[in-house]
Symmetry: C2
Subunit: 297 residues, 2 copies
């Protein structure tokens, strides 16, 4: 039996940055809130709550307190309202997401029909849409495209989609428009993590994908892995079922960009426990065999 973890699993640059900013701010201010979940990991959000960072769901709940903008960004109007109300803002919007917002605005202003590849209910996409002045179309894949011709189309991708969906969307759009301008806004960390997950899935008999159930990038990892091999998407170690490991030789683990290391360690130890190897439990993620360096995560 071999347990391996995909390279580049866990926190990405943007999530690390957002949490650091939130924790620093919580030391500076007596009371601070986040407008929506700062990242899509309920366990991490709960941990931040214990540090005094409270989640609110609407502007009216803020009541003048300093406010953290989530890593996924917020709608343009929301941001402007916070400014108007002189609310202290800690903007943890991932810089790659900010760039995507800028591109959306640029394409909208330049008269392109903006088409966003993404999940229309995801906060990143809801915020993105607000940056295009014109009407935007959001599609989860090429099959959702309206059956019509366009003149100039600008394509933006939610940062956590996969390149194959973007390629398929482009293939469908190309014969239908005179000009197609695609901003490849899939973030590099996302691509690398997806590639590493795919490679590990191909060499495993079972894959465990760890991350928030509403985390777009984690769901994408589960989708990619699930195409090759039996895959379980879990949030915490307690969800693991001992039966999963029957007749399994190679177990692969991967984790979304908002999954903290301690949860990955708990999952690893739970598997070790079920396999009856208590002495092989680990205390930090670097001890997972086969994970050669921190850079690989």
């Amino acid at each position: 039996m071999k347990i391996r973890i995909a390279k580049n699993s866990g926190f990405c640059f943007g999530v690390k940055r957002a949490i650091k900013m939130a924790e620093d701010a919580s030391k500076k201010y007596n009371e601070i809130v986040t407008l929506g979940s700062i990242i899509h990991n309920p366990q991490m959000v709960k941990k931040l709550e214990q540090q005094g960072i409270h989640k609110v769901n609407s502007l009216s709940e803020i009541k003048g307190r300093p406010t953290i903008i989530r890593s996924h960004g917020v709608e343009k109007n929301t941001f402007n309202k916070l400014l108007e109300q002189n609310i202290e803002i800690v903007d943890t919007t991932c810089p790659y997401v900010s760039k995507t917002q800028e591109y959306t605005q640029l394409l909208g202003k330049a008269g392109y029909q903006v088409i966003i590849l993404g999940d229309k209910n995801h906060p990143e996409v809801i915020a993105l849409q607000s940056y295009s002045d014109g009407n935007t179309i959001v599609v989860k894949d090429a099959s959702e495209l309206p059956d019509k011709k366009f003149d100039k189309v600008g394509v933006i991708s939610q940062t956590t989609r996969n390149i194959e969906d973007l390629q398929n969307l482009t293939r469908e759009l190309l014969p239908r428009c005179r000009e197609l301008r695609i901003m490849n806004t899939i973030c590099n960390a996302t691509s690398i993590r997806q590639k590493a997950t795919l490679e590990l899935a191909k060499e495993s008999d079972l894959m465990i994908v760890i991350g928030g159930r509403n985390s777009s990038n984690t769901k994408m990892l589960a989708k990619i892995s699930g195409k090759y091999i039996k895959t379980h998407h879990i949030e915490v170690a307690e969800e693991i079922d001992k039966k999963w490991f029957k007749n399994v030789e190679n177990i692969g683990i991967t984790a979304g960009a908002s999954t903290p290391d301690w949860i990955i360690v708990e999952v690893y130890n739970k598997i070790i426990e079920y396999l009856g190897n208590h002495e092989k439990k680990i205390s930090k993620i670097e001890d997972i065999p086969g994970l050669r360096s921190k850079d690989e995560r």
Copy 2:
């Protein structure tokens, strides 16, 4: 035995326009030349020669005479030199090709790495390249792309390529660049003619593609048809071999955008002759059974 002709076969708008302009000019001037072949059909070029429109191959051969710019366009420098020398110009560059030249210039000026999908030896592509200020890359398909990453890429297509090649090129480029701006410059007449040829090829046992051997759009028709069924690319009726029709039930004919009607009629009659149906010969293209209206060509 059934002989059918693909809809939209023969002269396109750009070719009709170029020939009309050349013939009108030949009436106006005592002597007139074309710089290169006005269209890629040797038989039509010969006919124009008989009307006093002489082909020259270089600027030095013009010797001050009024000059017709070919439908494929010429290099920017060549055009400018004609202007400097006060040569009378009859510019028959297809308006769709002119538009493609404009887009190339626009993308080059805006700092894009311009990539042209096309045949690097074709006059249209040679002229196109001259409109980009930066370095252009010309590829016949995705396999010829250099193995490197790009920042901003602008893609232009030779007007007579097919959409599938453009889609494949885009698929390959997308993961390699931050921004991909594609001008779908495949001309509509080309797409329609390719589609009609494909449909007829699927229903035929043998296809005859008529057009100049150096005609890019004709070669593309032969390539598309040849994927489905035995296909012969010919320029004139004399090339037809009686043996081709042995055990053949459905014969399909299609013709490139620079193939004159009289050649299509000759080819049709030659086939009729070989099949022993002399009485069914026709005198004009409209008499081909199944060709419902002139609009369909």
